[in-house]
Structure formats: C-alpha cells, structure tokens
Symmetry: C2
Subunit: 305 residues, 2 copies
DNA sequence: TATATTGTTCTTTAATATTGAACAATGTAA
DNA sequence: TTACATTGTTCAATATTAAAGAACAATATA
C-alpha cells in the first residue's frame, strides 16, 4: 500500500468535506477514493471518518491523524524542496587551473572523490604549468605552489610541501653519502630545476646557514623527469616531497642531509578572483581540499627514516 | 510511486551497505531494489548513492536525505503506535444504566454521537426506571434524576430539569386558566405521578410558599403517558420539562402559573462506583455528556413564552 | 413518499511492481 | 597482469495492485 498517497487522499477527503469532492479534485473516481480510505482505516485498525451518505464526521482518532498527516506531508514537501535548493546552489561548473605534476598526481583523485559526493558539479580542469591569469581567462579557482603574491586574488592554503635533497642508492654508493653541506663538492653533481637558483641554502636547527654550489649536469623543467633521472643515478636532486615521496618510500631514492632544512617550505594554495562572487560549489571544493590533504599530507616524508 | 516504501528501501540500502544485502533483508530480488533506488533518485533529480560494484558512497544530498528518511519513518511509526495506544486506552465496553424516559428521549442520541466519534467503545445499556445498584450489578455508569444520596457513588451533574405545570388548551378553555395557586381547586383535577407527593408547593419570587392539593383523576408511573393524557385534556399535570417540552413548543400543551417555581429544580447526574477505577472511555463519555447537554439544555422552556 | 445525492461493492481493465536471467562493471587474488 | 567472484543494472515476462465504471444501498431533502 502507498501510505503517503493514502494520507494525501485522506487529507483531501477531510478538507473537501466528502469523498465525491475529493475524487473530483484528485481526478479520480469516487470508488477509488472510497477504497483507499477503507484500506487506510483497515490498516490503522480505526475508523477515521464516521460517514453516512450525507454527512461526514471525523472521529477523535481521525482528527488526530488528520493533523499528523498534514505535518508529515508538509515535512516531505520541505525535504524535497530542500534537495532542489541544494542542487541549485551546488550545481554548475568549476573551471579550475592546476599545475601539471601536483594536479595529476594528487589533485585529480581528490576531485574525483569530491565529484562523487557532488555529482551535480561539473569540472573543467586545465592542467598547465604556465602562469595562468585566473581573472582574464575566466577561471573559478587555481592551485598555486609557492609563496604567491597576486593582489587581485584571494588565497587559502590547502597544503604544504618540503623540498627534499635526494639521490639514488647507487649514486650514493659511488660518490659517498654527504653528512654535511660542506661535503657537497666535486665529484658530486646535481640535476637542476630550470627556474631554481643555483645555490642551495641549508639551515641547521641552531640557525646556522650554509650555502653551497654544486656542479650541474642536467637542467629540466619537470619534477617527474628529475625524479626519474635521479633514480637512474644521474645526480643529486632537490625535488618537492609530493613528487618524490613514492620513490623514497620504495627505496629507489634516498633522502640525504635530513637534519638540515632546505630552502623555504612550500605552501600549496587555492586561489580565486577577489572581486568575483564565490559560488557555494567552489567554497565547498576548497573546504574539501583543505580537509582532504589535512595538516600532515600523505606525501610527507618523516625525518627519522 | 510508493514514496514511503522507497524511503524504507533507501534506508535499508544505506544501513546494510549494499543493494544485495538490502534485498536479502527485505526478502526481495536485487533488481527490484536497484530499480526503486534508481526511481527515487530520478524523482528527486539527485544522485543519492555513488555506487560501483564494490563500494557505495553516499553523496552529501544522500546523507541529508538519509537522515530525513529516518526521521519521517520514525514519526510515522510513532503516529501509528499512538493510534494503537489510544485505541487500547479507549476501547472496551461501557455498561450503562439509565432511566427509561430520559434515556430513550435524550441520552440515546448523545450516545450515538459519542459512539460515532469513538467507534471502539461498545455500549451495553440498561434502560430501566427501577433503582439500579451500580456496584453490585456491575455497571460502569448510571444516570440518576433527582437529589441523590448514595455514599458509595461518585456523581457529576450533567444537566438539570424543571417541573412544569401544564394542561391542554382545550382543558384550560373548559375550566379556565388559573392565574394563582389559590385557584387550583375544583373543578380542576390532576394527573399524578405515582411516587409524587400529593401536595404542590408553589414558591413565589418573593419567597412566599403556597401549598395546594388538587383532586386526582389519574395516577401512573410514566411521564410520557402523563404527557399524552394531559394533551388529551385529562387534567393538569406536573411533568419534567425534558419530557413535555415538545408538546409545549408545538402548542399541544400549555404551561401555566409560570411565575411560580414548582417544587425543587431537578438535577441529572452521571454516577459511578466510588471505589472502582474509572476507565478513560467512561471519563470521556461523562465529559461528552456534560458538554452535549450544556448549561442550558435544549428542552428548557423559556419563562416568557 | 419520491428523489437526488452520496458512499460502497463488484468485476473488468489498466497500471505498476517484481522476477529472473543476461550483462556490465570492478575489486581481489593468483 | 589476468582470471575470478561479486555486485549492480537492464530488460522482457509475470504477478500484483490499483483504478474505472456500473450497479447497488443508504439517507437527507423536498
């Protein structure tokens, strides 16, 4: 039996004052209405309406049930209206710009999971390492890795990263594992990221800073390529932990000089146009990303390995 | 579509963790469950569960809807349980003793109306003018007309009555309408109720009391018979207003000496055993009767006719 | 008392849900 | 990586359930 429909029919009978009128209003035949009421009364085991051919009289049970039906029906309407509202509020497209490595390696899964929870959101993602002008190119959101400074953007830190100095075990066996920055001289050599400065700065826990310059044997602008090259033993490399953490965990690479802090820690930001109204779906995504990566992201390499 | 059942199915899917388990628990086939969920999602226009063959993942809309379904289902359970409780609380028999005239003329309709509102109450009514021993004969409730005094009973006044001195217009034309109690002597004659005293006491508004004795031509123990006899012009009669009000209203009888109060006003009581636990249905009936007859019962004859 | 209207009952017809098998998808273990 | 087991979906056939429509019963009203 269809309880909700029966309730609605009952309410209509009471409000219209007769089975015949209720049938008219519901575009049904009076026999159907009569049967539904009879079924409902039978189900409840109670007479709801004392009816003759001319008059109808709610029993006390009927009065009570009528009120309760009204409430239930209203609640269901509210629930369903609420869903429509939520859908409208969240539905729509998010145009997102993200750097290549981080985007494909970490962001894509987060977005897939978010999209499972919010299927009404449609993503339009541009994976690109070039600097993207969010405002002029019409993006809702960008992911930036570095210390950014763009006054026309709002930023929220969603995670952070650490540069890791590492090399393959074979390389270290051949050239020896340095225990102090001072030892970083020939025959050691490095793989350099294009935009990086040529000097490495090591900060000790007591604040002492050591600057060293290591000979470069390879320059490229892609962290994953650097990682592969380092695994192949091409040289030392400074790579963000979110790129190399798997190689280090599996032992293909070895983190060295872990007692020193290398460069500044890197933050990962979600940035969005300052002036633009921020849709609920974008705000929700940012919240989700903050929560997803958490305080200690899963790529973080523990110091005491 | 059966929304309520769909909700229950959805809840079962979520709680059991899979469509297959839900189908087992509901003794249905998984395809039926799958279709119902699909239909519900389609109706709401929202994905509720993000599902693969191995995992199920509630969307945020699904989480919200799940909670709301739980609430609705619980509310309906409470409503239906409440009806059963009320039914149990009110259902049962009321054994009622009532005097003949009042019972048939006035009480029966009140009880019919009460029973329409509370069909779960079953009445067992003894219409009888003899004195009924409620306690020993196992009655739940009795109706008494007079100033009762039975220490083993509790009483609640449900209405009141006035004795009316009246005669047929034909009689009054023949013997003249008395304007003062003193005029009540031969050739006037009366119809006497068996248990009534032989003297009539008239109380004036200033407190003066006149006692007169009118010759008796007819004695009986039934008010309705007395009314019929008076209508036929047999004589003067003192009859409770709840018996003769229709005859007076229609003009078959005429109330006389209305400026005097005749005897004491009579009260109508609902009485019930003092020691016995009073079931809700009996209390409800008493309340109903008090409300039904009201402060000014419909049989009351206005003084200024 | 006749009448018109209302509600109920019954059978036929229509709508809707369930079934069961085939298929597609996906995580797991070898 | 591949085969496997399990899950969910789809589809046509079947079963169940509800609605229609006519005939009937009940009851206020004129």
């Amino acid at each position: 039996m269809n309880k909700f429909e029966d309730m609605q029919v009952f309410v209509r009978i009471v409000e219209s004052g007769s089975i015949t009128k209720a049938a008219e209003q519901l575009n049904m035949v009076k026999s159907a209405i009569s049967q539904r009421l009879a079924r409902l009364e039978n189900h409840l085991g109670t007479v709801l309406i004392q009816r003759t051919t001319r008059s109808q009289n709610l029993t006390t049970a009927g009065q009570k049930y009528f009120q309760q039906c009204l409430r239930i029906i209203e609640e269901i309407e509210e629930i369903e209206a609420g869903i429509q509202q939520d859908k409208q509020a969240l539905g729509g497209k998010i145009r997102l710009a993200a750097p290549y490595s981080f985007g494909l390696k970490h962001l894509s899964q987060a977005i897939r999971l978010f999209n499972e929870q919010h299927p009404e959101v449609i993503f339009d993602i541009d994976f690109n390492d070039r600097f993207v002008d969010l405002v002029n190119e019409g993006f809702d959101l960008g992911i930036r890795i570095t210390q950014l400074s763009d006054s026309s953007l709002m930023a929220r830190k969603i995670s952070h990263s650490q540069m890791v100095l590492c090399a393959s075990p074979a390389y270290l066996e051949k050239y020896g594992e340095p225990k102090h920055p001072n030892e970083l001289k020939e025959p050691h050599h490095k793989i350099k990221y294009s935009s990086d400065v040529d000097m490495w700065e090591f900060k000790q826990t007591d604040g002492t800073v050591s600057k060293v310059k290591v000979p470069t044997v390879l320059v490229c602008n892609n962290g994953e390529f650097m990682t592969d090259a380092a695994i192949d033993g091409c040289g030392l490399a400074v790579i963000p932990d979110f790129i190399c953490y798997q190689a280090i965990k599996s032992g293909s690479l070895q983190s060295i000089l872990t007692g020193y802090q290398l460069n500044q820690p890197i933050n990962i930001y979600a940035v969005y146009p300052q002036n633009k109204f921020l849709p609920a779906r974008v705000r929700k995504l940012i919240d989700y990303l903050v929560d997803y990566f958490g305080q200690e992201p899963y790529w973080r390499i523990s110091k005491n390995r």
